[in-house]
Amino acid sequence: MDDLISEFLAETNEALAELDTALVDLERASEDAEILARIFRLVHTVKGTCGFLGLSRLETVAHAAESLLGLYRDGERSVTPDGITAVLAALDTIRLIMGGLADAGEEPKGDDSALLARLEALVQDEHVSTQPTDPATRDDEPPQADEEPTAVASALAIVHDGPAPPSGATAAATPVASSTVDTNLPVQAIRVSLPVLDELMTLASELVLVRNQLLQVARSQGSTPFSAPLQRLSRITTDMQEGVMKTRMQPVSAAWAKLPRLVRDLGQELNKKIDLVMTGGDTELDRQVLELIRDPLTHMVRNCADHGLETPEQRIRAGKLETGRILLSARQEGGRIVIQIADDGRGLDLTRVRQRAVERGLATEAAVTAMEDADVARFVFRPGFSTAEAVTSVSGRGVGMDVVRNNIERIGGNVDLQTTQGRGTVLTIRIPLTLAIISGLVVESVGERFAVPQSAVVELVRVGGGNTRVEWVDSAPVLRLRGQLLPLVQLGPLLNLAPFLGGGAPVEGFVAVLQADTARFGLLVNGVFDTEEIVVKPVAPILRDLQAFSGNTILGDGGVIMIIDPSGVARMAGIGSDRTAQAQGETITKDEEGAQLLLFRAGGTPTPKAVPLGLVARLEALPSSTIEMAGDRPVVQYRGRLMPLMPLGAWAKPLAGAHQQLLVFQDGDRMLGLMVDEILDVIESRIDLRPSAQHAGFLGSAIIAGHATDVLDCAYWLRQGDPSWFGKTDQAVPRLLVVEDSGFFRQIVVPALSTAGYDVTACADAASALRLRDSGAVFDAILSDIEMPGMDGFGLVAEIRRGGPWSKLPVVALSSRSSPKDLMRGRAAGFSDHVAKFDRDRVLSALANALSNMSEAA
């Protein structure tokens, strides 16, 4: 049987069991809004699930029941015993159909019209609501219900035993209703409750502790007969601990598995073209967390498809691609899992949301007018809030978003929404890393151990004692790392474990280079131990304000250890976000000043040469003996394949025992080693490039660090080394327009993009770009700087989007400013994507993405 179907059956059976109980409760306390809301949500979920599995008979029945329950929930009808009976009858019909589904794998044939008519009558009939206390006046009322209107047992009895007068379907449900369905489900996996898994995990941890104690005893005893079995016990214990941990972890894609089909079916149902893109599906999540986000995710994707995206006609009219796009992504960020659901649809109509908030009595007219748009958007998370004009079978009953928020908040997460009218909505869910398993690097500072999430560790550098030296800029320690100055944070002193070292003090220890959200810095510690797989546990509430830590964990040896939050530490040390505003101003000027350049000597000439560091994949020093000759060209076996080597000018194989310095360029599988004599330095410098036409292979020369320096034309050398480097000739070369005012950046960007196989045209300002447009130039994509004299990037993209032949081209922003606010502004202005200047890989992937979107849409 289809996995989806069997999972659906298991889930729905649980929901039905819960529903039975809830309906019983409801009949006892008919005015209880919370029970009503719960019932409504359960039925809504069942309906939704049937809907996208194509179980139309089930869906019809569930929809009818839901309509009635919706009226109850909103207080438009009072709950009556015959209403409950009808809903119970609907549930039994659902069970009956599910029984057939379990047996045959498809919905059994049957006629539910009587049941549907009865539910419909209850929905339509004002009579019921006006005289709720006198159900006996209705002729089609089951007689048993009259006698004992409040007892649920009787309501059930009617369905199970009684003749159930008006509904043929109900009668048909009788024989299967209670017993057969549950037992008929095929068992492929068993459900184990999370407390049992938790208990197992605790026991496994205990076992590890005991094992460790035993090993310690054994070590002091020398060789004993226990040694061998103890070793086995030890290994088994480790395996068991790992196994138990695994039982709790699942990739987030497990919760996504159903979504492509859901989206496909929704697309058909709603007559929309929808493209679902999912990234980061292998991000691991605790099973419990996963279960809890499954429904919210489904609801949100459903909402995107139903409300968020427009119909193809509307999209075309709005100047968008016909196919709407829903982007689902997951990633681990700092101490949290971030899941985003973004659509490029119409966005929330905030005016309508404001109106609705007033109608619903959630806020006064004055209050909503004064509210920030972002706060207004959050009204959609209130129960019963929906701006959908019509109630469709897909969603729009205002059930989705409050369920979403409830479920997310229950696991200590939060959900937020950003919307831009006409351009789409982004929902961001942040779930704590609680219980997520991560790899942690154990470090020591002033005698205390801490874990650093391995994902944040870029590299480890040993400092002092003859290794790399820590240098001081006044009282701030820094590390020179490949030409960059890396700010260092002294962990011990920051955590108040030791006094801060004075300026100029000798430092010995290790620097863990960490990448936090916004900043890269070095964490100065005394020692580094091992990496361990750790299960992150939240800290107690009284310790929750400590921003240095994202949680704590128990190590294999039983010790408790705090987990460092790199972003928190960066904030505490004043690196990153706190200074972002100030830093942004600096970055802009810095940007204008230049980029990182790698200086080297090559070809036996004394003139230093420069190449933008961003273009070089790696620096290598290869032993002379590894260089072989293929024909008349030197090659080397590098990372499992043959890499051609290219001399810059005259070259002689280095003497045996000497090393050959290489700049390695890479594009996908293609690699080329440029042989140079000596790597000099990496510097950040502004250069005034003076073109030199006669000097092949160089863009020109400039004064860098006080010396006349030749600036390398990478494209030339790569073509020399491998003529097919740009030869993606089997398909049309994408034509790219680069708008960039800085001549220097043009010099970097153009070769880099040519190298990657683009046909690049560059111009220096928005005006000349627009002139190109008006003269009929054709491109496939545009890459534009944002900060430009005259019309800036925002202005340019707005102008491009306004109309004309380029209005639908992907335009990627190239900028140093990448705060969320800038990103928002960029999107609002019409940029398809936004990349930091100048990160070659990200520029290329953004372009590739933008182009593939184009071609899919075409």
């Binding site: 995990m201 605790t202 026991l203 941890s205 205990e206 502790l209 205390e448 151990r449 955590l495 108040n496 474990l497 546990k537 800290v539 107690a540 509430p541 009284i542 310790l543 929750r544 304000d545 400590l546 240095a548 830590f549 704590n552 964990t553 128990i554 039983g558 010790g559 408790v560 250890i561 705090m562």
Partner: protein
């Protein structure tokens, strides 16, 4: 003694429970904690310090696979810290679904208190003590101060409220 204490701790009737106090010694003072909230008593060792933690938090420890926050009773009650290396006891209590360890100098017996011996904490008691003491009992030859675990664990309430 630990074993005995543990045997005594589980469920009893509500009335009886309210009169059972686990007595402990903090800097020479005799204090009591209601038995129903006590989950375990063990020697206080292997506590991992938590840098920058609020004063009074001794650190965190591993209690059979659960991480428990240890609270220094001396510090909470404004008493000078114990001598380094002096043996201490850890009383594990449950509060608001979380386990905490209250660190005291030593643990004595569980005693049954009759309500007649109960007195309100005197008004002249210092602020720190008055916050944490719920009552004072007259025993033979000494006074027993009953502590309120909820108060002992109420760190930075305002801050918590601010977050949620």
């Amino acid at each position: 003694m630990n074993a005995q204490l543990l045997q005594m701790s589980p469920r009893r009737s509500a009335i009886e429970e309210s009169r059972l106090l686990l007595t402990l010694q903090i800097a020479g003072r005799l204090c009591g904690i209601p038995v129903p909230c006590v989950r375990d008593v063990l020697r206080a060792e292997a506590i991992t310090r938590v840098p920058l933690a609020p004063p009074g938090v001794a650190g965190v420890l591993n209690l059979r696979g659960r991480i428990v926050t240890a609270v220094e009773l001396r510090s909470r009650l404004g008493l000078p810290p114990a001598d380094r290396g002096a043996p201490q006891m850890s009383i594990i209590v449950e509060y608001d679904g979380e386990l905490y360890s209250l660190v005291a100098d030593s643990v004595r017996e569980v005693i049954s208190i009759s309500p007649e011996t109960r007195e309100e904490a005197p008004a002249t008691l210092g602020d720190t003590w008055r916050t944490h003491a719920t009552a004072v009992y007259q025993l033979d030859g000494e006074l027993l101060i009953e502590l309120d675990p909820a108060q002992l664990l109420a760190f930075g309430r305002g801050v918590e409220g601010g977050i949620s």
